[in-house]
Amino acid sequence: MYICVMYSSELIKGTLKTIVLNLLKDHGKMYGYEITQKVKDLTQDKIQITEGALYPTLHALEEHGDLTVEKVYIGRRVRKYYLLTDQGMETRSERVNELADFMKTMRFLLDLDVAKGHV
């Protein structure tokens, strides 16, 4: 569901929720288009999130209670701003810690030394 300029979709599958939750923690409220642009900018176009993956994830996070929504009416259209809830904050830290730990394990498993620039 991703458009991945550099990485295979298998590699980053399952990290979308973590990315979204973390972005919202750092930037407060954001809307869908803004999220895709921010990810694109931050990763220098290495990761581009498709709309087909983003919106189902946002709706699911909202349904789970991790996100809340503020609607702003812009002319004839509605913009939905997503914000982290307290539960979302907790989910974010769990997810980020889990991913960090996973990356540490993978680094060890694959015998990669980041400092030496072998990645």
Binding site: G32, E51, L58, H64, R77, V78, K80
Partner: protein, 404 residues
């Protein structure tokens, strides 16, 4: 930055709806997103329509509705982990309850029915339906989903059938044999021909299908299990023996009574009358139960015995035509008549004490027809034995008077 007109926004909104996006929240998000892209990337001198078509195409692989379907799936299965946990707990609980229930039933301990009932209910109404939902989510292929749903539904109805059979509820056989037959005739062939097409599954499918057919065969043999022919014959011989006893006693008593008829003894006539009355009532009950069980007329049932029963294990006929009614042909009617007979016995003075019929010691309710028919013959034997004793005693007394 390009400024979208209201008409263009309406056009986009309508097109999104036409492409199958029905949920308002999803539509609002897509509309805003498309508008943002157009506002930022579209140049005034470009072709709006072709730019829009290219933009909207970025949202999907085959059709725009994918977003709505994906959203629906994610929201519908939000309880996925809770369901998985519930499934694990019910799996353990179900196994424990059914094993314990089976063991209790085997030992005839109290509580077996409660354990079995809750175990099978949990298995068929919680564990298996949860399995359907989980597997449905995991397997996207339509035919696999249908096959899986059919299989689980048949297992659910089959296990409810087993529960009904254990608890002696009505329609147990229809539920069990119906599911069993459908499983054998529809599910196994459908499973085999659907799965065998995938080359890597071939070996496993052959093994699984063979196991299912073997399992069905063994279960069929088990459920159709009856007592051996020898045991059946021994039960019928016991019944015939008793029927012959009754007939012999009746013949013998008639002969003695005819011999004593000249004496014109009032006691003799009265004893004969109360015996005949009860004997006739027992015969009527016997005939009525056979007629009801075999669903034939009373006239046709008159000469039939246990051996002629179509279903010797029929318990429904006992409940409906012997336990529930209160008339002469019912259990209540029989008890009343036997008690009246017992009360009258004490008024007859004979050297040999006459034996009361202890009907309260016979369990004639909550049982099957062949047992009740046999018990009726037992009562008749005692009734006619009493008459035989009375007649013999009278014969001796009268002979003694003659000699004097």
């Amino acid at each position: 930055m390009y400024n979208l007109t209201d008409e263009q926004i309406d056009f986009i909104s309508n097109d999104i709806t036409k492409r199958g996006i029905e949920t308002e929240d999803v539509r609002d998000n897509i509309l805003d997103h498309v508008c943002c892209i157009i506002e930022n990337d579209f140049s005034e001198d470009g072709d709006f329509n072709s730019f829009y078509v290219d933009t909207i195409a970025r949202f999907y692989t085959k059709e725009l509705r994918e977003i709505e379907v994906e959203t629906h799936d994610l929201i519908t299965f939000k309880y996925y982990y809770a369901m998985k946990r519930t499934m694990k707990i019910t799996a353990g609980l179900t196994s424990a309850l059914i094993i314990a229930g089976g063991f209790f039933k085997f030992q005839h301990w109290p509580g077996a029915a409660v354990l079995l009932f809750s175990g099978i209910i949990l298995f068929s109404l919680v564990f298996l339906p949860l399995n359907i939902v989980m597997k449905y989510r995991d397997d996207k292929a339509k035919e696999n989903r249908l096959l899986m749903i059919l299989g689980f539904i048949l297992v659910i109805t089959g296990s409810i059938g087993v529960l009904f059979k254990v608890m002696h509820f009505p329609y147990a056989n229809i539920l069990f044999y119906g599911s069993f037959l459908a499983f054998f005739v529809f599910f196994i062939p459908a499973y085999f021909f659907t799965k065998i097409r995938v080359p890597e599954n071939k070996f496993n499918v052959i093994i699984q299908t063979t196991c299912m057919i073997a399992g069905c065969g063994m279960l069929f043999a088990l459920f159709n299990l009856k007592g051996s022919k020898h045991i059946e014959d021994s039960v019928y011989s016991m019944d015939n023996f008793q029927v012959e006893n009754v007939i012999n006693l009746e013949i013998q008593n008639n002969l003695i009574f005819q011999n004593l008829a000249v004496a014109n003894d009032p006691d003799l006539k009265e004893f004969r009358s109360i015996t005949e009355q009860l004997n006739a009532q027992i015969n009527s009950i016997h005939t009525n139960l056979i007629a009801q069980s075999n669903q034939i007329s009373v006239d046709k049932a008159r000469k039939l015995t246990s051996k002629d029963l179509q279903n010797p294990n029929d318990s429904k006929v006992i409940a409906a035509h012997f336990e529930k009614p209160l008339d002469e042909l019912s259990y209540t009617g029989l008890v009343k008549s036997v008690e009246a007979y017992n009360a009258q016995l004490s008024s007859f003075k004979t050297p040999n004490a006459l034996r009361l019929i202890p009907i309260d010691k016979l369990q004639m309710t909550n049982t099957i027809i062949s047992v009740v028919l046999h018990q009726l013959k037992d009562i008749q034997v005692q009734l006619l034995s009493n008459e035989n004793s009375f007649l013999n005693a009278k014969e001796n007394t009268l002979a003694h008077v003659d000699r004097e």
